[in-house]
Each structure stands twice: as structure tokens, then as C-alpha cells.
């Protein structure tokens, strides 16, 4: 839909293509919950909309919401691209999602605890033993561990997508160090400034209390009887691409941001080095992978971790969020068993469905995958961030051949899924508004209760036709508005 300088948007002319659009239906009418937003957007001069878009980008720059570009010696930083047309989630859909996410996290937590204790789910042959024990993210060292309050996955960011039929699916469970929540909070801040009136009239559920919910979740893990536990955020350091988020969360919670070298194990406790000597640390929100956490327990060459940390953890004198070993539950092969996991532990049907998944580990399914590499998306079972991935329809024959070899070499390591037609949201592109594909990552905190942050990060693939929303590959973000029940 092309706009001349003085016109207004007209969504009845907006082309949804053959995709599901989150804001308008095929006839151009606003969907449930989006009526007010569409009306206000149409009333706004398009130039004014673009001015607000530019203003939003400027604020993000000023707020310093940037990520470093690796290899750029001039120290230039970029903002994570942001589009001011929000994505809307109507209240009834959100209620369903919230229930589904809580169910999933509850079941996955029980699964992890079982895997590192009696392994009933393997004994009962619900999941083949070998695929769990052979997973790269299975940590033998965690066998018999009892994390505080029996919680393993305290912070989760579950990736959701909606297919062409309008059905929302879980695409991935991220139970290790999911990032992006700082963008949710900052995007919201910028949106309130960009559209104060629309925002006020829309009854959007707030996200502002995430940092205090996170702090509560972390404090809940402290050893018993500590009135004022010391919580820290452990970051790999300022050269990490998510460093901004680490420092933001520490600042918002009012706790110290530490690096491995700031911590030391001394007389059985973890301490941080302060100008007044050593100070005991009780809870660590770590943003470092298991592998790098403790060179004595995991990779011996890690320079980021704290030697001896794992032993203190095992003795219950410090809490770690998320618990080491949690990664077993976001292995992409395990993912395909989550419906069975939910059924096994909760005796319930899984609420939010998975995307159909072919396991290359199974001979029959592998044959199917190898014959259809040009149509499927192939993923490495233990990678995240869009790495180690083949998008069949957008790949060359050579890339397909390479993946065929990889799959034959280590079938356990690969899964495949049909290429999904992700839903779209209207997005400002130059002088027009066009549909762009999105996903959604809600954030779930498992503490005393399970808290789901209303909305989450909507990532948008800004390149025309692209299905890859990762920031490292040309993705941007949008604010996500969960509308309060009226």
C-alpha cells in the first residue's frame, strides 16, 4: 500500500497476501482487539507516523539500547531495529497462552528433576533412554542434584509462532539463558512516548514490573532463613552481545553486575571482591552457559567462570538460575516429546501444540527428511540463535547436500520441520506499510508461583519474505500489546 505524503493509511487496501495477519483479516477489517489501534493509525497523517518512528529510533539510541557490532574497531554500535506499529494479542487468546505456557513449564521442570533423579520417564519407556543420555546438553554431573525449592528452569523464553491457519505453536523452548526481555521493557517505554493517547485508550497490560518479579523469583531461591540475600547477575563481560541486557537487568533490580573474575570461592562460599574485602553471594542469575560456569566442573579452559562454584552449589550454599543441566529440556529432539512429557507428569493434554517434527534419529523419518530437504527446515538439536540451520526452500543444492551429509553423519543431532508460513504484522517499510513475518517470545518466571510477562518480545523479519527473525540476521522488534479484558 503506497502512501503519498499527505495521505493516511487505509487498511482496507492493505494486502495480507496468503498469510495470517495479526492486526487485520483477509478483508482488511481489524481483528478482535485491534479495532482501536487500526482506527487511530488510519486517523494519523502518514508523515506524522514516520516522524514518530524516527523519534522512537532516536530515543532508543539515546537510551543506549544498542548492541556492539563484532569486528567493528571504530566502536560503532547499532540499535536493534524497532517498528512502532505494535502487535496485538487479544485477552482471550492471551489467557489461553498463559495457561499453556504454565502447563508446559511445570511439566518440563518435573521432567528435568526426574531425569536427574529416578528417571521414571525413561524406565516407563515414554522417551527412549539413549536419546536423553546422548544429548549434548545432558549433564551427568547433575545427577542427584536438588536445586532450591526443586526449581530448575527459573527463567524461560518460549518461542511461539502462528501458522497460516491461525494456530499458534511452540517452536522452541529456551530454558538456558534466553535474552531479549530488556527490549520488551524499553520498547514499551518508547511506545508510551510515541503513542501516548492510543496507548492510554487501549488498556494494555503493563510489563513494567518484570524486574521486581525477577528479583522476587531469584530471592525465593536463597538458602533458608536469610532475610536479605545477596543476588547478583553474572555476565561474560562487556564484549558479549547481550551485555546491554545484563547491565540493564542488574540496574533495574538494583543488584551488582559481576563477571567471573569478581567472584571467588572462599571457605565454602561464593564471594565477590569488593573494595571492603570479600562479600558473600547467595543467588546468581547467570548469563553464562553451563560449559563456562566452572572450569573445575565443566570446560577446564573457561576463563569466564568461577572455579569451585559447582561444589558450593551442590552443597546448597549458593543458588544458580537457571540450574545447570536445564538445557536437556530445550534439546530439539526432546522438544518433539513434550506432548508425552505433559501427559506423563500432569495427566493432561498439551494445550499449545508443537510444530510437527521429524527426528532424523528414526530411520523412516530420516528417509523422509533426506528426500524433502528442499521443503523442510533442518535444525541442529543443540543450537540456538538461528545457527546450524537449513531453510530448505531458500537454500542451494550445495547447502542441501552439505546438510544431507551432516544428517547421515550424526542423525541424533538433527531434526526437521515443515517450512511454516509465519503470521505477519503491518510494518513501516520506507514510504509504505507492508506485512512482515513475526514470532513471539513470552518470558516465564518460575519462583514461588509461575509468572508470565504479558506479551513478550515480538521479533520481526524486516527483509521482504524472510522468515528469520534473529537480530544477528536482519531481524527487528515490535512492542506486544496484550489487551486487558474489558
Amino acid at each position: 500500500m503506497s502512501q503519498s505524503p499527505t495521505t493516511h493509511l487505509d487498511f482496507s487496501k492493505y494486502n495480507t497476501g496468503e498469510f495470517f495477519d495479526e492486526l487485520v483479516d483477509e478483508s482488511g477489517k481489524p481483528r478482535n482487539g485491534a479495532e482501536l489501534l487500526i482506527e487511530k493509525l488510519e486517523a494519523l497523517d502518514f508523515e506524522e507516523l514516520k516522524r514518530r518512528q524516527a523519534g522512537a529510533e532516536r530515543s532508543l539510541f539515546r537510551l543506549g539500547i544498542t548492541f556492539a557490532v563484532y569486528g567493528d574497531t571504530k566502536g560503532k554500535e547499532k540499535i536493534f531495529p524497532f517498528d512502532i506499529i505494535p502487535r496485538i494479542v487479544p485477552s482471550n487468546e492471551w489467557e489461553w497462552l498463559e495457561r499453556g505456557l504454565k502447563q508446559r513449564i511445570t511439566a518440563l521442570n518435573m521432567f528435568i528433576d526426574d531425569i536427574y533423579h529416578a528417571k521414571w520417564i525413561l524406565k516407563d519407556k515414554i522417551i527412549p533412554e539413549e536419546i536423553v543420555l546422548a544429548a549434548a546438553s545432558y549433564r551427568k554431573i547433575c545427577q542427584g542434584l536438588d536445586p532450591p525449592r526443586k526449581i530448575w528452569c527459573h527463567i524461560t523464553g518460549t518461542d511461539l509462532i502462528r501458522g497460516g491457519d491461525g494456530q499458534i505453536h511452540v517452536l522452541e523452548d529456551n530454558l538456558r539463558c534466553p535474552s531479549g526481555v530488556s527490549y520488551v521493557l524499553q520498547n514499551r517505554l518508547v511506545m508510551k512516548r510515541s503513542f501516548p493517547q492510543i496507548f492510554a485508550a487501549s488498556h494494555v497490560k503493563p510489563v513494567v514490573d518484570y524486574p521486581s518479579q525477577l528479583l522476587k523469583t531469584l530471592e525465593h531461591l536463597a538458602p533458608d532463613g536469610l532475610p536479605n540475600p545477596t543476588v547478583v547477575v553474572l555476565s561474560p563481560g562487556s564484549f558479549n552481545s547481550a551485555y546491554y541486557e545484563h547491565s540493564f537487568l542488574a540496574q533495574q533490580m538494583g543488584v551488582e553486575l559481576v563477571q567471573g573474575s569478581d567472584l571467588v570461592v572462599h571457605e565454602g562460599f561464593v564471594n565477590m571482591r569488593t573494595t571492603a574485602g570479600l562479600k558473600r553471594v547467595d543467588v546468581i542469575y547467570r548469563r553464562i552457559d553451563d560449559d563456562f560456569l566452572d572450569p573445575k566442573a565443566f570446560r577446564p579452559d573457561s576463563m569466564l567462570g568461577v572455579p569451585g562454584l559447582f561444589e558450593v552449589y551442590r552443597a546448597g550454599r549458593v543458588a544458580l538460575a537457571n540450574a545447570p543441566g536445564t538445557g536437556i529440556a530445550d534439546d530439539k529432539v526432546i522438544y518433539s516429546y513434550v506432548d508425552k512429557i505433559v501427559q506423563y507428569y500432569l495427566k493432561e493434554d498439551m494445550i499449545i501444540p508443537n510444530v510437527p517434527t521429524y527426528l532424523c534419529w528414526d530411520d523412516k523419518q530420516r528417509d523422509h527428511v533426506l528426500k524433502n530437504l528442499d521443503k523442510l527446515v533442518v535444525k541442529a538439536a543443540n543450537e540456538s540463535g538461528g545457527y546450524g540451520m537449513l531453510v530448505g526452500p531458500h537454500s542451494t543444492k550445495a547447502e542441501q547436500d552439505k546438510f544431507a551429509d551432516l544428517i547421515k553423519e550424526s542423525p541424533r543431532n538433527y531434526i526437521a520441520q515443515p517450512t511454516l508460513s509465519l503470521s505477519r504484522v503491518p510494518t513501516i517499510i520506507g514510504d509504505t506499510v507492508e506485512g512482515r513475518h513475526v514470532d513471539l517470545r513470552p518470558y516465564i518466571l518460575y519462583g514461588k508461583d509461575i509468572f508470565v510477562l504479558p506479551g513478550g518480545l515480538t521479533r520481526v523479519a524486516l527483509k521482504k519474505g524472510s522468515l528469520v527473525v534473529n537480530s544477528s540476521q536482519g531481524g527487528g522488534s515490535k512492542d506486544t500489546w496484550v489487551i486487558e479484558k474489558s
Binding site: 543506549g64 540496574q251 565477590m272
Partner: protein, 332 residues
Amino acid sequence: MLSRVADSIYWMSRYVERAENLARFADVTFNMMLDLPPGSAGQWLPLVSTTGDHEWFQEHYGDPTQENVIRFLTFDPEYSNSILCCLQSARENARSVRETISSEMWEDLNSFYLLVMDAASSSDSQQSLQDFFHEVKNASYRFKGITDGTMPHGEPWHFARLGRYIERADKTSRILDVKYFLLLPEPSDIGTSFDDLQWSAVLRSVSGLEMFRKRHHGITPERVVGFLILDRMFPRSIMYCVNEADQALHAISGSPMGTFWNPAEKQMGKLRSELAYAHVDDDIIEVGLHEFLDALQTKLNTAGKAIYESFIEADSPRVNGGRSQMQTQSSI
């Protein structure tokens, strides 16, 4: 507060102050050259000597021409103490403590850094160089103002203050020292209007000419030396800086002034008393200005090391690897 954070804030502040003083350094020499009779162009050498990195300069540049020395001090990306590198280091330190400093400070330091980056890539005519030195000084004033106005005056702020004044004390002593070198070779000039002109330039380089005139009126070398080392009101005098640093240390530890709880307070307190009871004729000129300044710089370095031992490496068990190294001690 975390030792690493204290260290980074201290060095962030030192590097900004260092960049400002380098600009003053280069600016005053530049201006003096314009006043010197033709043929005395070799006067850039003392500037290099007092950086303490004479050998490095020889190796990378050779002749101490104006062009070489100015590039060395301002935009050399290889020389770790050039204005450009100081700003890079200040920014890297700030980046690692973004949750502790205010966002205003971070934004301002960023634009300071971009100012230097832009200047480094544009043409360096003499006119624009003088403007550049002026801008660097102003940017440093602004950063100090923003630091004081947007950060709680607690422990982190005192570390910033500590870094700033230790660096400044060191640099004032070096500015004085380099002029001493420059002015000394012609004893016949002493007391002439030419001498007067040069001492005025020294004072101007530390923005002290007006304050000096109000206090002492006529310029003599003794008065200028006394003013720059011992004056209690002039904010760039060594006495003033040491006083500020001493107060910052006591604010950090909570110990009463005049006592000490850690090696840093002990060293700084000793230095402060020494200056407080010094007289310009008996204790400075008599000993020899250069010798006095040399000893002073050593004491400042000792105090700097004591700060590191007292707060950054404080009695904690060491861990192999990962621990940040002490950053380059001032060698300029």
C-alpha cells in the same frame, strides 16, 4: 562496591583527565612556539621526554618535529597515551560499568569520544587543532559537571574523584617540569619580558593566569612555582589535588582525616602533610625544581599503587587467570 567496578571508574576518570591535560600540554607548547624566535624549533623534544615514552617515540617517529609530536600526543592510534587512545580507554572502562554510572555520563562520554574520532579523521590545520584542544578541554569540564550532577556522591563517585585528582596532580607537575626544561637553557633570559611571556603561557595552560594575577600580581618564577604547587585555592595546583584525593580516600573508608586505615590513606596523607608544610624557597627551589617534581611524581605513583593494593586487590585470595591487570600507570 565491587573492586573491578571501583577500578574501572577510577580509570575512566583518570583517562578523561589525562586527555584534557594532553590537550593543554600540546596547546601551550604550540602557542609558545609561535612566540619563540625563529630557529628554536627544536623545543618539541622536551615535551616528548616528559612523557617518559621517549624511546617509543624515537622508534616510531624519529625526529621530534612539531607535526610528529602533535600526532604522537593527539591522534596516534598506536600510542596508548594519545588523546585518542585515552578516550578509547575511558569509554571501554565506562562501558564495563554502565549500570553504575549514570546514563547521562555514558552518553556524554560517547559524544566526547566521537568528537575525538571525528577530529582524528579530518584535516589538521593549525587553526582547527587549536579549536580541537579547546573542545577537548570543554568536553572534559562537561563530563566532570555531569558526573557531579548525575551520580550519587557515594563510593563510586569518590573513586571517580580520586582518579581525576591524582591524574591532575601528576600532570600539573609535568607541565611545570616541561616548562622548566624549556625555559632553563637561556639563563640570560631570566627576568626579561620574554621570560614573563613564557611563564604567562605556563599559567594559561592550566587556566591559571587570571587567578594568579589576582593573587600575586607580578610574575616571578618562584611565585608561579609556588602557585602551581602549593596554592590551596587554585583547583589545578598539586596541593589542591592531593587534598581532594585525600578527602576522597577518607570518604571511601570512613576514617577520620589525619588518620589512616589503609596503605593508600597513609601514602596520600604523608604527601599532603609534606606539601602543607612546604615553603617554595626552602623546600622547592633550594632542592631544585626538577628534583622536587621528580620525587613528587614518584610519591604519586606510590600512592596510586597503594590504592590498587588497598581496594582493588584487597586481601582476597587470588584466582588464576581472568583477573584484570593494573592499567597503564601514568607515564606522561
